[in-house]
């Protein structure tokens, strides 16, 4: 019964993942935006884009998208 009284520390999942947005570390793809102040780069991660978007899945792994 002791375990039931254990306090669960607050989740950091959201803030942990937000660190990955536009983070160059381990990034393997970048978006180039043509802004008025010149080109701007946004760093991203292919596996996240692929698992969250059919569009990017088809772009990075055309065969997998076909089988899905």
């Amino acid at each position: 019964m002791l375990g039931k009284n254990v306090t669960l520390p607050e989740s950091t999942f959201k803030s942990d993942l937000l660190q990955l947005i536009n983070n160059q570390l381990f990034s393997d793809v970048k978006f180039t935006l043509n802004g008025s102040a010149g080109p701007e780069l946004i760093y991203a991660h292919k596996f996240i884009l692929m698992y969250r978007s059919e569009f990017f899945r088809a772009m990075f792994m055309p065969t997998a998208a076909l089988h899905k």
């Binding site: 019964m1 520390p9 999942f13 937000l18 990955l20 393997d28 596996f47 996240i48």
Partner: protein, 144 residues
């Protein structure tokens, strides 16, 4: 926009579907061998057997997720070894079994616990080893 991004992640159990996908993985967690190979093992299979040997010696994961979710793994990411069976970088986690490391990865990728009760003690040890106090507390609470 960020809020909707996070809501979408939660709805789909985080990124747990990305675990063990060698096509997108850039690092492996090397596991404890699945059985003691020092002992001679004889396996007899019937002609119609469809038994398959699963590769349970490594868990395919992603450096970015490990870096974001586990501070102690950040140190490991700066001194990586090589997976002897592939070109990927490797983190030595051979203290822990494949099943526990998959569940550890599942927690990192989704913030959810899906481990069965008999594994809770080993998962708690794993959480302590990788300095994940929330997972340790989660396992303690669930395991009692």
């Amino acid at each position: 926009m960020l809020e909707s991004f996070v809501k979408a992640i939660n709805k789909h159990h985080g990124f747990a579907a990305c675990i063990n996908d060698p096509s997108t993985s850039d690092v492996v967690l090397l596991c404890k061998p699945p059985f003691d190979t020092a002992l001679p093992v004889k396996v007899s299979l019937g002609k119609s057997s469809d038994a398959r040997v699963k590769n349970e010696s490594r868990v395919y994961v992603h450096k970015a997720l490990l870096w974001a979710r586990c501070p102690s793994l950040r140190t490991s990411l700066s001194k990586l070894g090589k997976d002897p069976n592939s070109d990927l970088d490797a983190i030595d986690a051979t203290k822990f079994s494949y099943t526990v490391l998959v569940n550890f990865a599942h927690y990192l990728y989704s913030d959810e616990l899906r481990c069965s009760l008999p594994l809770m003690d080993e998962l708690r040890d794993c959480a302590e080893h990788f300095n994940c106090p929330r997972l340790g507390a989660y396992a303690t609470r669930t395991g009692h």
